[in-house]
Symmetry: C2
Subunit: 191 residues, 2 copies
């Protein structure tokens, strides 16, 4: 079944922007394939994002309900937001957590990163677990109408398997949190 | 922390296509927000996709290495592909598995669905576990240069946590497979 690795790289011949100015920038590149043929690739360029798993001292996870227009549906999600130009991902995480939920956190743990949409976007999502939470005022954007609530991790995982949580980035972060807490069962003991 | 649920729905006022004709179709809609203000939403329209977790009689998972142009990087992925117009998702799964890997499968189990990119795409990915695999000829697309290989589920999960598998849809499907096999430990016993 296994075949030897060979070069799969596709090389850019030409690149043009086919949509820009609004929220999304979309590019269409002419590429040379490994077999020598040419083809087109279209993709969204994205600045990257940071996702936060905020764990309260009682072990509950802070979540959001948010209407997502592309699917005309309310989703249960973890707090997340785009990286500003030149911004460190930890700074983005702290900013987004406070803006969207009002919480600040004393402890931050990296859970790595994920690529949500490799077929047509260059987005990367950096994931952090935040604990030592302190409630405060939120600073939500004017068009960001969201509901903040809390739920136990066990319930979150059940909702994932029941199809009530289907947002990809949130599912991954919840699974990673389950594995992290299994290795660090005393994480919240001093809070 | 909990607030009562209220209507978060955003209503379409006007919709225009800002990119089309190639691989991606991108729309820009004017919307009315729940607070009465107006805003814009841009998003990719996608026909949906099907992802397959092929498990061999020896318990190994069939994976692919594929160059993904938006990130200029080779990714380790599970077989997946777009739904053709009007196609049943199970038919898509069977077609993509055979096209990309040559395998056919006697047993198919739904593992639900995921939304990979709710901020700017309406894509949904239906996920199936396939077992009772029989090797055969593949029918790969001409511009789909990929390497097919197999790996144990334990190694796949380690690679996910080590950052060697970062494709979101693949991470989710591997975690769901781990949970499904924990509940169905004799799945491959008769193969």
């Amino acid at each position: 079944m296994q075949t030897p690795d060979h070069d799969l790289t596709e090389h850019c011949i030409d690149s043009q922007t086919i949509a820009s100015g609004g929220m999304l920038t979309v590019k269409r590149d002419q590429v040379r394939l490994p077999n020598g043929h040419t083809s087109q690739r279209e993709y969204v360029t994205h600045p990257g994002a940071v996702l936060v798993v905020p764990i309260l001292p009682n072990g509950n996870i802070v979540l959001e309900k948010q209407f997502r227009y592309p699917l005309h549906q309310v989703f249960i999600e973890l707090p997340a937001g785009k990286i500003d130009a030149g911004e460190d991902t930890l700074v983005t995480g702290k900013r987004e957590l406070e803006e969207e939920t009002g919480y600040t956190a004393s402890h931050w743990v990296s859970l790595g990163y994920q690529h949500p949409c490799i077929g047509y976007s260059n987005e990367v999502i950096h994931t952090y677990l935040a604990h030592g939470l302190i409630a405060g005022e939120h600073f939500r954007d004017d068009d960001e109408s969201l509901i903040v609530f809390e739920e136990s991790l066990a319930n979150c995982l059940s909702m994932t398997q029941a199809g009530e949580i289907t947002d990809g980035k949130t599912i991954i972060a919840l699974f990673l949190t389950e594995k992290y807490l299994a290795l660090n069962p005393n994480l919240l003991q001093s809070e």
